[in-house]
């Protein structure tokens, strides 16, 4: 009985939570300009989205391209920078370690708007013209702390003698890093990369303040400008639907693997 009520609560919450996305998904299969007005089944919005053939808003595809490229660059650089930093931090002691750990926390604690405004002021102060480069730099700034925090626990879990053992067996420090340390840190690096990638994909405020005036758009800023112009461009409906399904699929795959792994471990 208790279980029944509990399940009811959970599912009502989920239904309410997912209602908007479900409506968007349903109305992605009709051509109507406004949501709620069903003008018959059509996949035209999907074909528009993929051919880039949209009523006056051809830059959506471009914005998506920018978003993905920026996220890939930011996540890659953050993963390299963050992993090296984590190894360094792990080997530090005392005040210096505390100071760098504190600084590492700031971008995570700061609201996006503060990070955005502060970086905006930095670029203004240094007279750097804002555009692609500044956006990427800004993304690296708020992504790297997550990589550091993903890699550090792997270092603490690691037997401290492992690196020494590699050296003892004749590896050069570089070989020990490549053949022993990096493989052991890989899970942390991968989750750091994924985290950084999604943080970058999701970002709006920081990009908004650091993109300058050259007309650089990511998906978020595109949606923002578009929405301020009034209403949702119909082509965003298939876009949201596809992203939603993509992430659902990704999460299912990840969790299935997790469950299977734990099952195997039990065996």
């Amino acid at each position: 009985m208790k279980r029944f009520f509990a399940q009811c609560y959970i599912w009502i919450l989920l239904i309410v939570l997912y209602a908007p996305i479900v409506f968007i998904a349903v109305f992605s299969f009709t051509e109507s300009k406004v949501l709620g007005n069903w003008t018959g089944f059509s996949t035209k919005l999907y074909s528009n989205l993929f051919t880039g053939n949209m009523q006056g808003t051809g830059s959506l595809m471009h914005a998506i391209e920018n978003t993905v490229i920026i996220a890939l660059i930011a996540a890659t650089v953050s993963t390299i920078l963050g992993t090296i930093a984590a190894i360094g931090i792990h080997n530090m002691r005392g005040r210096a370690k505390q100071a760098i750990a504190f600084m590492n926390n700031i971008p995570m604690l700061n609201p996006d708007i503060i990070t955005g405004v502060s970086l905006f002021l930095l670029f203004v102060f240094l007279h750097i013209s804002q555009g692609y480069v500044t956006v990427v730099l800004a993304h690296i700034t708020f992504c790297t702390p997550y990589v550091v925090l993903s890699v550090l626990p792997k270092l603490t879990q690691m037997n401290p003698n492992i690196y020494e053992a590699a050296l003892d067996l004749g590896a050069t420090p570089f070989q020990a890093l490549k053949k022993v340390l990096i493989p052991m840190l890989k899970p942390g690096m991968i989750s750091g990369f994924i985290l950084a990638f999604t943080m970058s994909l999701d970002d709006f405020a920081v990009t908004f303040f650091t993109r300058g005036t050259i007309g650089l758009d990511t998906l978020s800023t595109y949606i923002y400008t578009d929405a301020r112009k009034g209403g949702l461009t119909p082509e965003l409906r298939p876009m949201i639907t596809i992203m939603f399904l993509g992430i659902l699929l990704l999460l299912i795959v990840i969790n299935m693997r997790k469950i299977r792994n734990t099952n195997n471990a039990v065996k």
């Binding site: 800004a138 790297t144 999604t198 949606i223």
Partner: protein, 255 residues
């Protein structure tokens, strides 16, 4: 110190340049007028502008209400999800986590569109409901995490000492899950108090929140006033983060 500690150096320099210096610049700009002279003018302007103060108060109010609603709705959900007797499916957990992975603007826009379709008047009500939509998963996740990882022997020990299931809940499990609630507050309160796009979408620009004012000032080149407002927000954030005991981080990974 081993030599490998120097590996942190590039990142340390990076942090100074892209984290410390920008924050110092906020303070610097906040105390300057347009031509670079030291002044308290930006702050007097803020504290004497009733509109700005009202917006500030409204932002705090909305953020607090949103956080409270998220705890109220989220704690029971997290409790159920973490309880093996009440919920055994991993699917529901994934479904609650998933919105955290979807672009917040997209979700907000979808919510706003739904309101629009249902013919709901956009205003403070829709703002709150929309924000709960956006941030509920961020409250559920850390609480679920801590409840799920909580050593079962605490509950057993309490039962062993004579606690009824209700007493076990209130006297042991709720206090022990507080770090998760605090994490949840951090993950919900901070973004809501500082948001600008979300409130603009959800109220069709009718209600301005503090974030919007900052954004408008920066975008219209009123950098010094914008910096002063950012500093005010930083102080609010600083006060909120005192809540959290840094030693006990429970937010965990996101997946």
């Amino acid at each position: 110190m081993t030599k490998r500690s120097t590996w942190a150096l590039p990142y340390a320099i990076f942090l100074v340049l892209f984290v410390a210096l920008p924050l110092i610049l906020i303070i610097l700009y906040a105390f300057q007028d347009g031509s670079g002279n030291f002044t308290f003018g930006n702050f007097t302007k803020f504290f004497t502008d009733t509109d700005a103060i009202e917006t500030f108060a409204l932002s705090l109010e909305v953020a607090i209400e949103n956080t409270a609603l998220c705890i109220l709705l989220g704690y029971p959900a997290a409790w159920i999800l973490a309880n093996k007797n009440l919920n055994r499916s991993a699917v529901t957990i994934v479904l609650f986590i998933m919105p955290m992975w979807i672009n917040a603007l997209m979700r907000t826009l979808a919510t706003a569109e739904l309101f629009h379709m249902l013919g709901v008047q956009l205003g403070k009500g829709t703002l709150l409901v929309g924000m709960v939509y956006d941030y509920l998963p961020f409250m559920i996740y850390p609480i679920y995490n801590i409840l799920n990882r909580m050593d079962k022997s605490y509950a057993e020990a309490a039962q062993d000492l004579g606690a009824t299931p209700w007493q076990v809940f209130w006297k042991v499990q709720v206090p022990l899950s507080m770090p998760g609630v605090v994490s949840g507050i951090m993950m919900v309160f901070m973004p809501t108090v500082s948001t600008f796009a979300i409130s603009e979408f959800l109220t069709n620009n009718k209600i301005k929140l503090f974030g919007t004012i900052i954004q408008e000032n920066i975008n219209s080149s009123m950098w010094n006033y914008g910096a002063a407002l950012s500093l005010v927000m930083l102080i609010i954030i600083g006060i909120t983060s005192l809540l959290q005991d840094n030693k006990k981080d429970v937010s965990g990974g996101i997946v």
